[in-house]
């Protein structure tokens, strides 16, 4: 037992042969979707149980149900043999369940101590952070954490923030931990450290549910794997002896071939050249420094890095959403640094933005309107200062047909479309013409396999047509599959430009961590 775990009544000491957690027939519906359909899941003590599935397979919903964030429509949950029904996360925590969500539940402007104090059940009403240190240190030492209690969360790296979240769960006395895509913000090396922490947890008899869609890490750390597809359990297997290709097939429902980069055309002349680029944030902090590389026409260059190392700023600066502090950006041998969004777009820079719902479309506008969102100043959609709605409608009909956008009509409100179809709207608009430079940020994030393949096909098509394509992604598989070369960013600097052919993933990982 943890030294500061909440004293728990009888049921923690019940029959140890019962599984720690047993979910049976859990069903959760949303309008038009069955997010979980009679899902069964069992986790034993000292087990790391991976929950594998694509985005939208229902992993998160299942965990929300377990954690008391959502009420199930049907099904039972037994914890240590007792049936439970949580009204809110506070019930879940009291019962010994901890959640480390993908988006950390931390107040960024508060200190680590304040964040921990709020979450602990027996924090005193007055001076809540005062007696914290002693409590934290014992646990932190056992798991090999270093904790800066007085640091503000905003000043911590994502890896450090994640450790604060894990620590929080442990201090609350969790003996079943849910980790939601824990490695998505980590370098491969930081991920290794996390896996070591998981080993300690196993040794202490805790149960861990590891949500992931990455096969290799699942096979590496999990004892058992449950695969979800479209809200249903399609398999539960021992990790030992399971096969990655087999799991992948189960996950997507058919066999997937990780495509090799098929005969790409010979890259042409340099279209984008970046030299000595420096970008500072609003308070003078360096976001990008001494960044330089080239992209040729007919070439896809990938940008790798852990989130928050300057990729977003790079995309913003190239598309005019941010002004560089110093350095040169040359597009087709013309200086374009510091030009605004509109001028850059007119010069052939298109942008598939990271946050497609907030930035890529206006959710409350019609599909047809969003299909001309940036082209509304160009013929045939604009005639002088007026808009030609007939041309806009014609364009929409064409795009909906060509890109098979699933929408009730061109007049439908864009917000009502699925994520994949919103992305199709953006792709149809941005990749409809003959751009010179394509900046694609996380273009397949959250999309299902078919939509991802569509996205990749369109990017390849632009490459084949001679555009320079810059692909920013956190998915190393995607980068390796599409890119000719990979630029690695760490703390705003380029730590490597690697030929994608035959590159070693470990090499990329090291450079993402700033080593080498």
């Amino acid at each position: 037992m943890l030294p500061y775990a909440r004293s728990v009544p009888d049921d923690r000491t019940t029959d140890p042969s019962l599984p720690l957690l047993q979910m049976t027939g859990v069903t959760k519906r949303y309008p038009g979707v069955v997010a979980n359909d009679a899902v069964d899941l069992a986790v034993a003590r000292g087990e790391v149980h991976a929950l594998l599935g694509e985005n939208g397979a229902g992993k998160s919903t299942l965990m929300h149900v377990l954690y008391g964030l959502q009420a199930p429509d049907a099904g039972t949950i037994r914890l240590r043999g007792h049936e439970i029904r949580f009204r809110s996360p506070r019930d879940a925590k009291a019962a010994g369940i901890g959640l480390v969500a993908q988006h950390f539940h931390l107040a960024r402007r508060h200190t680590v101590a304040e964040n921990l104090a709020l979450a602990l059940p027996d924090t005193p009403a007055l001076f809540p952070t005062r007696a914290l240190r002693g409590r934290v240190e014992a646990v932190a030492r056992r798991y090999g954490f270093e904790v800066r209690l007085e640091a503000r969360v905003a000043a911590l790296s994502p890896g450090e923030q994640q450790r604060v979240e894990i620590l929080k769960a442990l201090l609350q006395g969790a003996d079943l931990l849910i980790l939601d895509e824990p490695t998505s913000v980590l370098t491969p090396q930081e991920a290794e450290r996390l896996f070591e922490v998981l080993e300690v947890m196993k040794a202490e008899g805790k149960g861990v549910i590891l949500i992931s869609h990455k096969m290799d890490e699942v096979l590496r750390v999990a004892d058992r794997v449950t695969v979800l597809r479209a809200g249903r359990v399609v398999a539960t297997r021992d990790a030992a002896g399971a096969d990655a290709a087999d799991l992948a097939t189960l996950m997507v429902g058919r066999s997937v071939q990780r495509g090799r980069r098929e005969g790409a055309p010979v890259p042409g002349a340099v279209r984008l050249r970046i030299e000595e680029l420096r970008v500072e944030g609003e308070r003078g902090e360096v976001r990008l420094d001494e960044v330089g590389f080239e992209v040729r026409g007919g070439e896809i260059v990938g940008v790798a890095g852990v989130a928050g190392n300057g990729q977003a700023e790079l995309a913003q600066v190239l598309t005019g959403l941010r002004t560089p502090t110093a350095g040169r950006i040359r597009l087709d041998d013309r200086d374009v640094a510091g030009l605004n969004v509109r001028t850059l777009f007119d010069r052939g820079v298109v942008h598939i933005p990271e946050d497609r719902n907030a930035m890529g479309v206006v959710g409350s506008m019609q599909v047809a309107e969003n299909l001309v969102l940036r082209r509304h100043r160009q013929a045939p959609f604009a005639r002088g200062r007026l808009l030609d709605w007939r041309a806009v409608g014609q364009n929409a009909d064409d795009a909906i047909r060509e890109h098979r956008i699933a929408t009730p009509s061109r007049g439908a409100v864009t917000r009502t479309l699925s994520g994949g179809n919103v992305q199709k709207v953006i792709l149809a608009r941005e990749l409809g013409g003959r751009p010179g430079l394509v900046v694609a940020s996380h273009p397949s994030y959250g999309l299902d396999v078919a939509a991802t393949e569509d996205t990749h096909r369109l990017l390849r098509r632009q490459r084949d047509a001679g555009a320079a394509v810059l692909l920013v992604s956190e998915d190393l598989d995607e980068l390796l599959e599409l890119s000719d070369r990979i630029v690695v960013l760490f703390r705003g600097r380029v730590t490597g430009v690697l030929e994608a052919d035959g590159v070693d993933r470990g090499e990329i990982g090291l450079r993402m961590a700033g080593a080498a």
Binding site: A42, P72, S88
Partner: protein, 398 residues
């Protein structure tokens, strides 16, 4: 095909279903529903006002009958309704444009007052020949109103200063500006002891309809303005960009909208329209610069309700302005014929706004009947949604 989980699955044979009402989020509310809800909100507000009447010892049905008699069924009464709607139309239509871009201009009152000041200045102190006088006053009022809105607009785009507070503060500045003028430099010479300016010469009076106070040229222009704003929003690049800015600033930035130019332009039109309302009141009704309380009677604030009740649609604002003009005109009837305090209209206006807010969830949610499968094991647990049974074996959750 796969290793089965350690524990057996529950009996799945025959499923039990039950039905339940559930609140669901709507993706989108159609215009018909939106209008229906607005109408409902107005009716509820009227009903509450009726209760207020009863509290003052007046039979609501009888009161309504007499109000309708004297405002809608009486020519002169109706002209009062329309002439009160004129400033509400001008300012309200302007506000629909600003609110579309989520520029929360709460300063129509001040913009109206400085419009009146500018128009009065031209009428009192320029040497323009008669026929040019009214056009010059018109232009001056528009420019003054626009200028009054420009400061907050610049502060918002350049520094991100909240425009609600700045536009509102300028209302007070405008009130004291008018008071200063009519007590000081512009104080009338003909009537000493009263705080208002001299009467304009006749050429500076906006013609009225017969013997009423209905200054119809302003009304005609208000209708034109509504058409113009509707056309701007629906047919032009400018309007498209205004809507983008309001619906999603991030997407507008991505689409290359020039926030500075667009904001300045739309605020100029919005605040300028309110300035014109001031021109109408000064040159059409009072024919002199008078105290802010007589000049405006809160038109600038009521115009906010006009625009919101119209759901930010400029053409609909013509209708809602007539409605609120009727509410205001009813105040006179209440006072004279029913011996009710005219302040009731202020409460009614507030109620209208509150009722619109209260009914807003109807546009975002709907009640649907759903069939929920109940796994046999949990059927005895009772309600599966809504009210889950006590958590974790009745453990304290406090």
């Amino acid at each position: 095909m796969s290793a089965p989980p350690v524990d057996a699955t529950p009996p799945q044979g025959d499923r039990v279903y039950r039905t339940a009402w559930r609140i669901e989020r709507r993706a989108h509310a159609g215009p018909l529903l939106a209008w229906g809800v607005s109408l409902g909100a107005v009716l509820v507000a009227m009903l509450l006002t009726g209760i207020l009447f009863a509290a003052f010892g007046v039979d609501p049905a009888e009161a309504l009958r007499r109000i309708v008699d004297r405002t809608l069924l009486d020519g002169r009464g109706f002209s009062e309704v329309v002439r009160r709607a004129i400033p509400l139309m001008l300012a309200g239509v302007g506000l629909t444009l600003a609110f579309r871009a989520r520029f929360w201009n709460i300063g129509a009152e001040g913009q109206l007052l400085v419009g009146a000041v500018a128009a009065s200045g031209v009428a009192l102190f320029s040497d323009l020949p008669g026929p040019l006088l009214l056009p010059a006053m018109f232009a001056a009022a528009f420019v003054a109103g626009a200028a009054w809105g420009l400061g907050p607009a610049l502060l918002k785009v350049r520094l991100g200063v909240n425009e609600i507070i700045t536009t509102l503060m300028l209302n007070y500045v405008a009130i004291y500006l008018v008071r200063w003028l009519i007590n000081g430099p512009w104080k009338g010479t003909s009537l000493s002891g009263f705080a208002y300016s001299d009467v304009f010469e006749q050429a500076a009076w906006i013609p009225t309809w017969g013997a009423t106070r209905l200054h119809w040229p302003t009304l005609a222009f208000a209708v034109l303005l509504a058409l113009l704003v509707a056309w701007l929003l629906g047919r032009t690049r400018f309007g498209f960009e205004v809507r983008m800015m309001g619906e999603s600033p991030e997407a507008a930035r991505y689409a290359g909208v020039d926030f500075f130019r667009t904001t300045v332009a739309l605020v100029a039109v919005s605040a300028g329209a309110a300035g014109l309302a001031g021109f109408g009141e000064a040159a059409g009704i009072h024919h002199r610069l008078v105290d802010p309380n007589s000049l405006s009677q809160g038109y600038g604030y009521t115009a906010i309700i006009v625009a919101l009740l119209a759901r930010r649609d400029p053409l609909a604002a013509l209708v809602t302005a007539l409605f609120l003009g009727w509410v205001q005109a009813s105040g006179d009837v209440m006072q004279v014929a029913l011996r009710l305090p005219s302040q009731i209209t202020g409460v009614t206006q507030g109620l209208v706004l509150l009722c619109i807010l209260a009914t807003e969830p109807l546009l975002r949610y709907r009640l649907t009947r759903v069939r929920i499968p109940v796994a046999a094991a949990s059927a005895q647990g009772g309600s599966a949604d809504g009210g889950p049974a006590s958590g974790a074996g009745g453990r304290e959750v406090g």
